[in-house]
């Protein structure tokens, strides 16, 4: 019979046990501390910038009118000392209040609800594309080492990691929209297009939920090119890393043994090479996918994609502190979540890690 744990025992087991649940609990607690740390760092850095949010947001005449300046400072709490502003911010954050954006003049949480799904939509497609294409190209490149396919893939992946995102975006837009006419243009839908009823904020999913296939097709066609551009960097990184990992493993004795006993090459790759290579590939994939959010700032600008990147840019230009903080929190949360996911996948792929803390 299992011994009955008291409250203290349960708490101790959750915080210091070696099982899967204690691991998740510990990681979640660490994540909360990390998010608080991010708020502090973002807040401090924003305050160190030698700019004035009042001057950045008011026009020439309004800035010269003390009554308007005072009203603006009071409305956004800028008349308070900086430490008080931070403590108030944290207090409000605990109640789910991210503050009011200086540029959009509405709660930041509403802005994030509107803009984050747009970024999530292209990022999700980009993740899907980059994972499968990157993995595939990496494998092909490794098993055709120094032959023509390998040379072509290496040039492609090097280009992917070297080209600045805005340049890739502009070039892709020029070729596929302007010259070839294959891509439909900028935005999420055609000009004046009616978005589907909002359920998830992802137009493709919402259109499917509404059973509106025309809108689905339109939304998908509009997101494909920006998603592909966004994916190019991650594809480059994953291709190069997959190739290197596989080449390293291909030199092992157990791979030679598998080949020697007559196993078909695809089985050797799948069973004896890919599985051990996957651990390190997943680590890189986690970081590469999280970095898609950073790349989205430039790609969204070129494609007029109304996502978090455009919102972040606008907030930074206008020294919109609540907006900047909101975006920082989302990006930090995504990074933390991706790291958590990578750690969980480690345990799934390599059960030997189960007993380590």
């Amino acid at each position: 019979m299992e011994p009955v744990l008291g409250k203290q025992g349960l708490k101790k087991r959750l915080l210091s046990g070696t099982g899967f649940t204690p691991f998740i609990v510990r990681r979640l607690l660490t994540s909360i501390l990390l998010v608080i740390g991010v708020t502090f760092i973002s807040f401090t850095i924003t305050q160190l910038v030698p700019g004035d949010p009042v001057a950045a947001n008011l026009g020439q005449s309004a800035y010269s009118d003390p009554a308007i300046v005072a009203a603006f400072e009071k409305e956004f709490g800028l008349d308070q000392p900086v430490p008080v502003q931070y403590i108030k911010y944290l207090g409000n954050l605990l109640q789910g209040d991210f503050g009011v954006s200086l540029s959009s003049k509405r709660p930041v949480i509403e802005d994030l609800r509107e803009y984050f799904p747009a970024t999530l939509e292209i990022a999700a497609v980009a993740v899907f594309l980059s994972f499968f294409v990157g993995l595939f190209l990496g494998i092909v490149s490794a098993i055709t080492r120094d032959k023509l396919p390998d040379q072509i893939i290496r040039v492609f992946s090097l280009t992917g990691v070297s080209m600045p995102a805005f340049w890739t975006a502009l070039t892709a837009f020029y070729i596929f929209f302007f010259v070839l006419g294959w891509a439909p243009g900028t935005g999420r839908l055609e000009p004046g297009g009616e978005p589907p009823a909002n359920v998830t904020g992802l137009f493709t999913i919402d259109a499917l939920i509404a059973g509106d296939f025309d809108t689905f097709k339109q939304a998908f066609s509009y997101l494909l090119l920006p998603a592909m551009v966004l994916a190019i960097y991650a594809i480059g990184v994953l291709t190069r890393f997959t190739r290197a990992s596989i080449l390293e493993i291909l030199g092992n004795d157990y791979v030679r043994a598998a080949r020697a006993k007559g196993l078909p090459e695809y089985l050797v790759i799948r069973r004896h090479v890919l599985r051990p290579a996957l651990l390190s590939i997943i680590t890189v994939a986690g970081v590469a996918f999280a970095s898609l959010l950073a790349g989205s700032v430039l790609v969204e600008n070129v494609f007029s994609w109304p996502g978090l990147g455009q919102y972040a840019y606008r907030a930074a230009i206008g020294l919109d502190l609540p907006g900047i903080m909101g975006v920082s929190m989302v990006v930090a949360t995504v990074y933390i979540f991706m790291n958590l996911l990578v750690d969980i996948l480690y345990r799934v792929i390599d059960p030997q890690m189960k007993d380590s803390k």
Binding site: G51, A55, S103, K105, F132, T186, P191, I317
Partner: protein, 528 residues
Amino acid sequence: MKISFKKVASIAVSTALVTTGLVAAPAIAATKNLTVETVFQLTSTDPARSFEQTGNMINRALYETLLTYKGGDASTQVPGIASKWSVNAGATQFTFTIDSRAKFADGTKITSADVVFSLNRLKNVKGNPSSLMNGITVSAPNASTVVLTTEKATPQVLAIVTSPALGILNSKVVKANGGSDAADANTADKALEFLKTQSAGSGPYVLSSFNLTTEVVLNKNTKYWGAAKAGYDKIIVRNVPVNVQRLNVIKGSSSIAVDLSPDQATNLGNKVNVVTGKASNVFFFYLSQNSTFSPATKFTADAKCIEAVRYGINYKKIVRYAGLGAIQAPGIIPSFFSGALSQKDAIVQDTARAKTAFDACGIKDTPVSIGYWGDGGAVNGLNFGSLAALVEEDLRAIGFKPKLTGAPIAVSLPLYRDNKEEMGLWLWGPDWPDSTNYTESFSPGTKVGLRMGWAAGSDSVITNLQTQASTETNAKKRAALFTEWQKEMNKRSPLIPLVQPAAILVANKSVRGVQDHPIWKVNLSEIK
């Protein structure tokens, strides 16, 4: 059922290719829609809170004002909601009679109560454009008459009332949705969000949807009361980067590109027209010198140093750089407005005079910093950084040791506005279309004057001319005073006008009535 990887991959690739291949650029010719592309300078569609270029363009189509302008003109007011108006002899009382036919988009008749509510709300929400109402009191003796009163002579009130910020709202609708015109409206007014979902005006268009980063859609006001009905069923104003605007307008995916530079407005093919309006000369770039910044040297307050800078600059080179349609700014008041100087009054580079003045000013090797909008900031295609480099080259040639200190706008603008720049390279666009906007902003003791350390009483001649011009009601005498004011400014003010770049609109040939305007850029209501 087991699905092989090959099958999944082939389905995915086929779907992608078929979808992208089938969807070509949307055609615009078949429907009565107008697509206008610009880089958004927009905060909302609430007239009392919006004072940016894109906001003015949109609100001009949604809300009508007491008076307005036609086409690209900004000198002769024409009836808006007011069919008649009069000004008293002292230019302190302005009486407007509301057109008896005027009605809002919901069919409600416009009354003086709506005007009083709208203007008081603008004044009291203390938003960006609220300063337009400084010193103005509004009252309504009866349902069809509105009186604007000022303490001192303010002839520019007739120009101020044309601003889209003074657009008239349906007071009942706005009040029902949280609006307030009370003295505490800066906290009591809650109508902002409502006015971003639907409009409450009487213009030829109504708001259909608003998105701060993508597009604003306007629908035709089917109950419009005026003669100039909407030319389109729908207008879509989209937020698009400049280089993409160029591709879209060439391809026909958009009808109007608002922000192309002179260089970008060339080789556009035969489907588009390039419109360079009179208003192209409404903005001007200037170099300001702050006499309080460096108390040790006070070089910027020294008349000889100012003279050295004024005559050391190669204005022709700057105009050449500014490209198509640009002209040298002969004075502070752009050529579009009353009393503007002509090109023959413009300062001509005189290197010998500049060098002599430089030797006399005694600054020698002391470095001089020049601040500007440095993160690629540009207006009408004229880049602040490149312009600053041209100025630096000229100043160095006569002996100065200039140091460029450009910074992102959020950093550089506060430094300039807070009087923390030694020299600054900046731009001015009018808050209201009248020369008084310039005399009351650049004279000693005014907002830009103070940024240059030019305190009130520093120059009694210039201040007297400013005061006389602001109270003179006779148009010819006013123009003469503005001219005189500028000539005096050109002799000794610490501000040096440089260039007036062209404002260029590129429009599809199928679109008529496109004209550049200094306040609302494009009058969407006039486009057919």
